[in-house]
């Protein structure tokens, strides 16, 4: 007879992540009378996009802009809803026990077990890896990282600073830094010029969208004040123990070199799939955005029973779409939990779906324009692909030529993806390299099979899990 470890706390729903999707899902669920808990790795709600919105050191709202401060509304609703909030807590395993999900979470070096009938994964996005030569040098960081610095501490770059890459965040951050009196020496734009033309077919929607005015004025603000070098086809950071310069080439064949103390790189964001992958949710390859995203139905329900995925983790859609998606998932969960009937759910849902559609409108334009160039996604030679295990692009190419048939065999052969980051920094790059070498389309190639724990935890914590009869019997002693 299998005895279960003692489950500490039962919830109707557990939400992982406290960005816009997580906050709005939890608020809506709590307002419907459900018992909901939010697991958040950070010290305060907001996720990355609204990071520090509850404790900002920036009293001047003009610096970060209205879009950021909208997060305050979400935060206030979240607090008022009295949804449970577990800060500085990491989920490390989720498994199915009967009709519930059991979640092992870790906080302050101790693990606890929680359970819920429904789970909402709202773990958002991460910066796409930018594998250029020298990207592991100290002094090279993601634009997302430095935006976190700005939001949480009001810090801006000093010393020689160059931005390099492609995507709206580059322009947004540049504008924010300039407004805050920070220094940016140049912006190297790797947007392929041919993509502007391709983006034009989505222009109409973009013109009708909320992004038009913001987008255009932002671009103008930045171009007026810093040197923008466009048509950059490649760049590399140079230096011995820290970055001291960035070298670049342009599509007209010219080269350049700029001294740097800090090089900030960005090639868009991609969904965080580690938890959904380890849980066994099915994913599909999004070719337009060059990323994996979970397969979801119209209620954002994944292929695993009772698991919903909302926000950028379901596919990159931005903060407003994330917020509405959280609501959508919550509507369905509330209905399944018996707190609302189908008619009530559907009545509210249509308005929520309209909000999602509106939030997504216009994105195809800049997604097409800012799709990262092949050369930016697929490096060669000695460029490191796996930062943790220091595996180079050439090593992956060689393994492919040996007949390495997929990302998991690659992992086994080269340890690529076996380091502490669990493939977050190398997975996309390694797969695209393998796909190209083997002539297999990404959607067929697949991705790493990710394992729990999704974040490392001490052996002591595992040892502190309650003993079960089955566990004690299964291990070999004498």
């Amino acid at each position: 007879m299998k005895t279960e470890p003692h489950i500490e706390t039962h919830y109707d729903a557990l939400v992982v992540g406290a960005g816009p999707a997580g906050m709005s899902a939890a608020s809506a669920l709590a307002e419907n009378g459900l018992r909901v808990g939010v697991i958040d790795e950070q010290i305060a709600p907001g996720g990355q996009i609204y990071r520090a919105v509850g404790a900002s050191p920036l009293p001047s709202r003009a610096i970060l802009g209205d879009d950021y401060w909208h997060g305050e509304t979400l935060l206030q609703r979240f607090i008022a809803s009295k949804a449970g909030y577990l800060a500085q807590t990491t989920v490390w395993q989720i498994d199915r026990v009967g009709e519930s999900w059991r979640m092992a979470v870790s906080a302050a070096g101790e693990s606890r077990l929680l359970s819920a009938a429904h789970v909402v994964l709202a773990t958002g996005a991460q910066e796409r890896p930018v594998p250029v030569p020298g990207w592991t040098l100290p002094g090279v960081m993601t634009v997302g990282a430095t935006q976190v610095l700005l939001k949480t501490t009001g810090a801006v770059p000093q010393g020689a600073t160059v931005l390099a890459g492609c995507g709206p965040l580059l322009w947004l951050y540049a504008a924010q830094v300039l407004r805050a009196g920070g220094r940016i020496d140049a912006l190297l734009d790797t947007t392929p010029r041919t993509q502007r033309r391709a983006a034009m077919k989505h222009l109409f929607d973009f013109l009708r969208s909320d992004y038009l005015v913001k987008g255009v004025s932002l671009l103008m603000e930045v171009k007026r004040r810093i040197k923008v070098i466009s048509g950059v086809t490649s760049f590399r950071a140079t230096g011995i123990d820290a970055a001291d310069a960035v070298e670049y080439t342009r599509d007209d064949g010219t080269h350049g070199r700029l001294p740097v103390d800090t090089l900030l790189i960005h090639q868009g964001v991609v969904p965080n799939v580690n938890l959904s992958n380890a849980l066994g949710c099915e994913h599909e390859w999004n070719d337009a955005q060059c990323c994996w995203q979970p397969k979801l139905d119209a209620w954002l329900h994944s292929s695993q029973p009772g698991v919903f995925i909302a926000g950028d983790g379901s596919g990159i859609g931005g903060a407003r779409a994330a917020e509405a998606q959280g609501e959508l998932a919550a509507l369905q969960i509330a209905h399944l939990a018996g707190a609302s009937d189908a008619a009530a759910r559907d009545a509210t849902a249509s308005a929520v779906r309209a909000r999602i559609a509106r939030a997504l409108r216009g994105r195809a334009f800049f997604e097409t324009m800012y799709r990262p160039a092949d050369a930016m996604r697929i490096p060669g030679g000695d460029t490191l692909v796996c930062r943790c295990e220091e595996v180079t692009a050439q090593q992956i190419v060689d393994a492919a030529q040996l007949g390495c048939s997929g990302p998991n065999q690659l992992k086994a052969f080269l340890r690529c993806g076996m380091g502490p980051c669990q493939g977050r920094m190398c997975g996309l790059t390694a797969c695209e390299l393998l796909a190209r070498e083997s002539g297999t389309p990404m959607r067929e190639l697949g991705y790493y099979t990710l394992r729990f724990p999704t974040k490392p935890l001490t052996l002591a914590e595992i040892a502190a899990l309650p003993a079960t009869e089955e566990g004690e019997k299964a291990i070999v002693t004498a």
Partner: protein, 114 residues
């Protein structure tokens, strides 16, 4: 290398703290993480890799890249971007792989068999 923007931040009751990184005192604000403080001070160099001994610094500042690993108050391999600064913290470079324990466990180098 970063500085707190005086244009942006009105001097508020934000407590300043200091901690020790290797042999240097580093100033930080309450609420900053260790990685944020290190990156503000210089290139953020905080560890050498187990595979090649290369120097690394925080890259993503959001818990994803694991390049910000340092030793904090004797605990090794801490993700410094997830740890808030505390007054008097002792932070050290994470030199390669961790040591199992400073006392009681003998170290042994990989030697070939005979």
């Amino acid at each position: 290398m970063f500085r707190i923007s005086t244009k942006a931040v009105v001097p508020r009751e934000r407590r300043t703290l200091s901690f020790v990184f290797e042999n240097t005192t580093v100033r930080a604000f309450e609420g900053q993480t260790v990685a944020q403080a290190l990156v503000a001070a210089n290139s953020g160099r905080c560890r050498t890799t187990p595979v090649s001994g290369s120097a690394r610094a925080p890259y993503c500042l959001m818990g994803v890249c694991f390049d910000c690993l340092v030793e904090i108050d004797g605990k090794q391999n801490q993700q410094s971007c997830l740890v808030p600064v505390r007054e008097g913290m002792q932070v050290k470079v994470q030199r390669g792989e961790r040591l199992l324990s400073p006392d009681g466990v003998s170290e042994w180098e990989n030697v070939s068999e005979d």
